[in-house]
């Protein structure tokens, strides 16, 4: 699918491409080791690339879903660690707050999130709770003037850098979302290192060891945490990660094709061998198909179509698998060079693997899509 972008959309995507090329590509390996620095967060904010889901009157630079997706692809193609910032900070936290935050919360946080002066992270997963997100073990109870939060979160992307966390906690059967500022007493942050993917994305474990917050920090309302707030965050995240996967796959396709055009064996360039052509052909087809699904989901999101959420799941599931396949082939084409730590093929291969796990694993997406498919395409299933 070749979607004709408007000049305005092209300009934004072009800006993201130029930023990735000039500010990210030369330092990708450095960021993978040391983490994406604050200066890059602020630079993205100055480019208007962190305020896509923030209203203009609150300092945002709103983008339609397709343009935002293409921006995510351009950044993700070059630097997955920086792309995590777009997914978690600019999409999940800013987008969810823009949707369900109180007027005061929006005024207090959204301008700073859009500029990058404040970094936000989504503290959902826990040591014992991943896919079963509704059953987090982090607890809250009433305290004087508000609530006290007790629990541990893990795999919090950009958690080690974040100034504010969007946290899901439970009290009995009730789940509620809260904003928790990092500088509150008894918030402890422990960076997670030596991980396969997202090594530079400031992953952290966050301990809330009896953190008191005012009731004004509730996002949405009491009890709406999982059903509405968290679901919104996960929906936004799924869409973002779908595009991230397209970016990784596109990056791998370009690396594979470039290398195959340069490397010679048996007196021929690699791309002249039929079996290499087959890998490139499959990659082209896969990437185009994944991007088409993402664009379709984006167009539905902009129209607020009821199927936008399920189409985002479909796009995420497919694109993540495509990223895994294409990066594996790219690494194969690179031969031993593909195994070198810090090389493009190796980095994309590692990053692709994470995309089938985060924001709803492939298997969770399959369960959701399976239920949808059985209803949507099964004969007579709507009878009651």
């Amino acid at each position: 699918m070749k979607l004709r972008l408007t000049a305005e959309q092209e300009a934004v995507v072009g800006r993201a491409r130029a930023f990735a090329s000039s500010r990210l590509r030369p330092r990708v390996a450095e960021f993978d080791e040391a983490g994406v620095p604050r200066e890059i967060v602020l630079a993205l904010g100055r480019e208007g690339l962190l305020g896509a889901l923030v209203p203009a009157d609150l300092g945002g630079s709103p983008l339609d879903a397709v343009t935002w997706g293409l921006v995510t692809e351009e950044i993700g193609k070059v630097c997955c660690n920086t792309r995590y910032l777009l997914t978690v900070h600019a999409s999940i936290v800013a987008g969810t707050l823009a949707r369900w935050g109180s007027r005061a919360q929006k005024a207090a946080w959204l301008p700073a999130l859009a500029s990058g002066e404040v970094v936000g992270a989504f503290a959902l997963s826990e040591p014992e709770t991943g896919s079963d997100a509704a059953n987090v073990r982090t607890r809250y109870d009433a305290s004087e003037g508000g609530f006290r939060i007790e629990g541990r979160k893990r795999w919090t992307t950009f958690g080690a850098m974040a100034d504010v966390f969007l946290v899901l906690a439970r009290r009995g059967d009730e789940a509620t979302a809260f904003l928790v500022e990092r500088d509150r007493p008894n918030v402890h942050v422990k960076p997670i290192r030596d991980i396969l993917a997202g090594r530079g994305s400031h992953l952290a474990e966050i301990h809330f060891d009896g953190v008191d917050i005012p009731k004004e920090n509730i996002v949405g309302s009491l009890g709406a945490g999982f059903r509405y707030v968290c679901s919104t965050a996960l929906d936004i995240g799924r869409y973002s990660v779908a595009w991230a996967a397209v970016g990784v796959a596109q990056g791998a396709l370009e690396a594979m094709s470039t290398y195959a055009g340069r490397r010679e064996q048996f007196g021929q360039r690699l791309h002249e061998f039929q079996l290499v052509k087959a890998m490139i052909a499959d990659a082209v087809t896969d990437v185009h198909a994944a991007r088409a699904l993402c664009m379709h989901a984006g167009l539905l999101r902009d129209k607020r179509d009821p199927d936008a959420m399920i189409e985002s799941s479909i796009a995420k599931q497919f694109a993540a698998r495509v990223a895994t396949r294409v990066t594996a082939d790219a690494l194969q084409v690179h031969g031993a060079y593909g195994l070198l730590h810090g090389g493009v093929a190796e980095m994309l291969f590692r990053e692709a693997r994470a995309l089938s796990i985060i924001e709803g694993s492939t298997q969770i997406q399959q369960l959701v899509i399976g239920v949808h498919g059985a209803k949507a395409y099964g004969e007579g299933t709507h009878e009651t």
């Binding site: 309302s221 059903r227 607020r304 009821p306 959701v368 209803k375 099964g378 009878e383 009651t384």
Partner: protein, 86 residues
């Protein structure tokens, strides 16, 4: 224009599983009955906003607001200041 029947139809068509013989009363809690998932809950909010032209705000997210057909109808009627066709 949305009607009470179109709300019933939406919920029926978006139930989690294929409750072929399920009977949904207007006061039945669709969450407690397991008829809708969190994804469906958001879809329901989207439906109410796009089909009825009302905005669901953060303080409208009371657990019970969208839990039954009658409560959804009451919410829409309160927001619109009018009565939906039965």
């Amino acid at each position: 224009m949305v009607t009470v029947e179109s709300i019933r139809t939406f919920i029926r068509e978006n139930m989690v599983s294929n409750h072929r013989n399920a009977v949904l009363g207007d006061d039945d809690d669709i969450f407690k009955l397991g008829f809708v998932s969190s994804m469906t809950a958001l879809k329901l909010v989207n439906f109410v906003e796009t089909e009825c032209g009302v905005t669901v705000d953060n303080d409208d997210l009371d657990v019970s607001t969208f839990s039954t057909v009658n409560r959804i109808v009451a919410f829409i009627e309160r927001k619109l200041g009018t009565t939906l066709a039965r």
